[in-house]
């Protein structure tokens, strides 16, 4: 298929001037109307950018949740024997309710997921390795405290505290140290992908076969992705762009040796899906995207993201999240809060954002404006074909 896609890309026919009404229209991209060439992609995968190495969790990997539950109950002052007896009945019996209500406010049991701060911090293990995917968000480079080195670009001063938060849990670990199942976000995105509006990225420039300045736009579509026979996002389908300006992001960037980086680092916002992530809301946005020879694209996007927005879908999933993913939700809350590294609340001083890096893959797609009536033009597509 890679051969087919690359051959399509080189195809000289202009396929972009077709409309349902048969009217020939000129190609234009909303974000870069004067650009000579544009390529659009729809996201196929979106996940936490986990780069797990052998010795990056000095404190060890987080315990299985049943073990953690026992520790949580002991932290509430229960004798060990009582905890053992209760946990013997897990996941049935009265212990399940006790675990949901393991928070305490004024000594009374409260829901641990809607009141995570009422639970005693279980102190999840945190990553203390050297490497993490990401970007030098604060501009301090190697002097940046608690920073990493990117394993691909070898840039120093990478700010990615989110990886430090979840990277010692088995369901959030990735290659090269872990070759097991995909990480939590990867699995969630893969499962929910056909059920929510797609995310689309378009790169425009004078000639995308050469190095030079480009414009990058990120949009939320009105359409969902289609899946192929192998469960991957189908390429070359058409996506209408949501006209809501809040679903539209434009960045200037540079294409060099097939890799796009953005040169302005303003805010980024895309509405997501409640199951995976309500919104992708970044400040100090950084991006690195590789245009692959087979026509696909892959990359990393990072910035500072409100940590509470990362927590909420997990808190909402509550005990289900703990049981299926095996990570302690209040522990996650505390870790996010403690490691948040940007945007301090002027009143409390508590940082409201945490440095993050997400990785994504994308396949070629056509994009078009949402239309209200009758015939409509094709706004943009992969005219590199």
């Amino acid at each position: 298929m890679g051969n087919q896609l690359s051959s399509l890309r080189r195809k000289p026919l202009n396929l972009l001037t077709i409309s349902a009404s048969g009217v020939l229209l000129t190609l234009a991209v909303a974000s870069a109307a004067s650009a000579g060439e544009s390529r659009s992609y729809v996201l196929n995968s979106f996940a936490d950018a986990a780069y797990s190495t052998k010795d990056d969790c000095a404190g060890g990997i987080d315990p299985d949740q049943t073990v953690q539950y026992a520790l949580d109950l002991e932290a509430l002052g229960m004798p060990e024997e009582q905890v053992k007896k209760l946990m013997a009945g897990y996941p049935t019996g009265p212990v399940t309710r006790m675990l949901v209500d393991r928070g305490r406010i004024d000594g009374k049991p409260v829901n641990a997921f809607t009141n995570p701060a009422s639970v005693i911090d279980p102190k999840l293990h945190l990553v203390n390795g050297h490497y993490a995917y990401g970007f030098n968000l604060d501009g301090k480079g190697a002097d940046s405290p608690n920073s990493f080195e990117d394993p691909v670009t070898h840039e120093l001063g990478v700010n990615n505290q989110l990886f430090r938060v979840y990277g010692c849990h088995k369901n959030f670990r990735g290659p090269p140290a872990d070759t097991g199942p995909s990480t939590y976000y990867s699995a969630e995105w893969s499962q929910a992908r056909p059920t929510f509006p797609a995310w689309v990225v378009t790169i425009s420039g004078d000639d995308l076969s050469k190095d030079g300045p480009v414009t990058l736009s990120f949009d939320r579509s009105l359409d969902h992705v289609l899946l192929d026979a192998q469960g991957n996002t189908e390429s070359y389908t058409t996506f209408r762009l949501d006209p809501d300006p809040r679903a539209h992001n434009v960045f200037h960037g540079q294409l060099e040796h097939g890799v796009v980086t953005i040169t302005d680092h303003h805010d980024f916002h895309l509405v997501g899906d409640p199951i995976v992530m309500n919104d992708l809301d970044l400040s100090h946005t950084h991006l690195r995207m590789t245009l692959e020879p087979n026509g696909n694209a892959s990359g990393f996007i990072g910035g500072y993201q409100p940590w509470i927005e990362i927590f909420l879908p997990l808190g909402q999933a509550g005990v289900g999240f703990e049981e299926f993913q095996g990570i302690d939700v209040p522990g996650f809350y505390y870790a996010l809060k403690h490691l948040a590294d940007a945007d301090p609340d002027p009143r409390t001083g508590q940082n409201r954002r945490i440095s993050v890096t997400w990785q994504f893959t994308a396949v070629p797609a056509f994009v078009a404006p949402a239309r209200s009536t009758g015939a409509s033009p094709v706004l943009s597509a992969d005219n590199g074909k």
Partner: protein, 581 residues
Amino acid sequence: MGKLMSQKMISLLSSSLAVATLFAGTAQAAPKPTPATFEAAGPVVATGPALLRRLSPDQYRQTIADIFGSDISIGGRFAPEIRDSGLLAVGAGNQSITADEADQYHVMAQTIASQVVDKSHRGVLIPCRPVSDTGADDRCAGQFLAEVGELLYRRPLSKDDLQLQVHIARMAALQEKDFYAGLRESLAQMLVSPEFLFRWSEVQGPLGGEGVSTLDPYARASELSFLLWNSAPDETLLNDARHGKLNSPKGLAREVDRMLASRRLNAGVRAFFSDMLQFSCAENPCLDATFAKDETVYPRFTPQVAADAQEQTLRTLVDLLITHDGDYRDVFTTPRTFLTPDLAAIYGVPLPRDSPNGEPSGWEPYVYPAGDPRAGILAQVSFVALHSHPGVSSAVLRGRALREVILCQKVPDPPPNVSFKLVLDTTNPNYPTMRSRLDAHITNPVCAGCHKLMDPMGLVMENFDSDGSFRTRQNGVLIDTSGSLDGKKFQGMPGLDQAVANDPAAPACLVSRLAEYALGRAPTGDETQWVANLKKDFVADHYRLRPLLRQIATSDVLYRVEWKGVQANSAVAPSSTVASR
């Protein structure tokens, strides 16, 4: 004496007790239609034998939907049909019912009958209310069964037939203490009856010429309806049969015109082209035609794509030939088509649409720009993917299909001792393209003769991979799409499309196929001249399908059968009108 049963039918029935029990009550003739005095439109010509044709799965489904509503589910499964002389419609005349198939018909009959009499449907589908829901009511049962029976059997039930069905309903109602259970059982029995499952050629007797008879009015109505609508006759058509209006050329023409003007004509046209273009091979792979694809090689060829592909072609054909009353030759070049998102992805074209956010998209009209190689039905997935191997495209299968399916020209089968290893090996760096592999293959003189008939056209279609997706290169090498058809050279799909459109064999093939589809067999005797005349008239009518259908449907030839008198072995079932003469 009423209907006579053929040996074939007797053996068919003996295979299933469930079916056999239904044939006890056919001794008395059905109510007579208006006395038959047929006006022949032309001289009486020699004709072929009468046929007993099994309803196709689509005809079965459509008939049930027309009579009881499209919300009635069928259940069960249909056995694969038999293709004979290139058409399932011809194979239907040679198809019996096996014991397993009889079981499946029984399952379907019970499924359908149960729904028809259930509480959500009985108020609409049953025209009367019984005296009591918990007992038998011969009057109400008789009313319902007479109405439904006429629609299912495509002719009124004889008095004895109706009495038998009412009796079945009575016995079942008393046993189950449920009037509607009685109707259910009786209806289920009718649904497994050969009167329903087969199209009978009931005749009226000799028609002036030696050895020729004509179909009775109800059989005429069935011929018309299944040809034009792919379903059983509606009430109007049955009424016209009852009143003898189909006996005269004028009356017949009037009814044909009504049917040609109906939107239901689309179903008839779709059924014919589905048959001609071998779409049944998509569900039940044929020897050289399959929609089975290796999903590791062609992940975009999903089951949805397979379903959409056939629908795309049928929509394209109906739009051009019926909606726009267009020239048949244009089906090979038309840029107008219809796409779904899945199909658009396969073709690699953008498809903006209007469906609400998140709602599965429907069909969108689409127009290719001038010169686009994806225009015309030969470039559609339903052709290029159907005539490919599961893991690789096939210039040979496509070229052969073009000859045999589109041009009605026979290509000899390959000799049994030929190796195709080289042709199928897409990884050999010495032969990166299909053309290079075939060039090497046909250095064998045994192969070269037939390949000359197929390869020059098939190689032009190499821009389409096995799944129908568009490509310009194979293994990194630019695909050469030059080709020829019977000495006429061209470049690329637009050239091939135009060459086929210009080839007189293409419209002639359509006429031949449609005539065979209508007759249910190959033309015989003087019918061959009739087909030749149809071809001439098709040209004169600017290759439009409606006039061709009209000419066939109003022709005496369609309603004539060989007459050998009343014989025990005859598949013909003459009515008492004739038997008593």
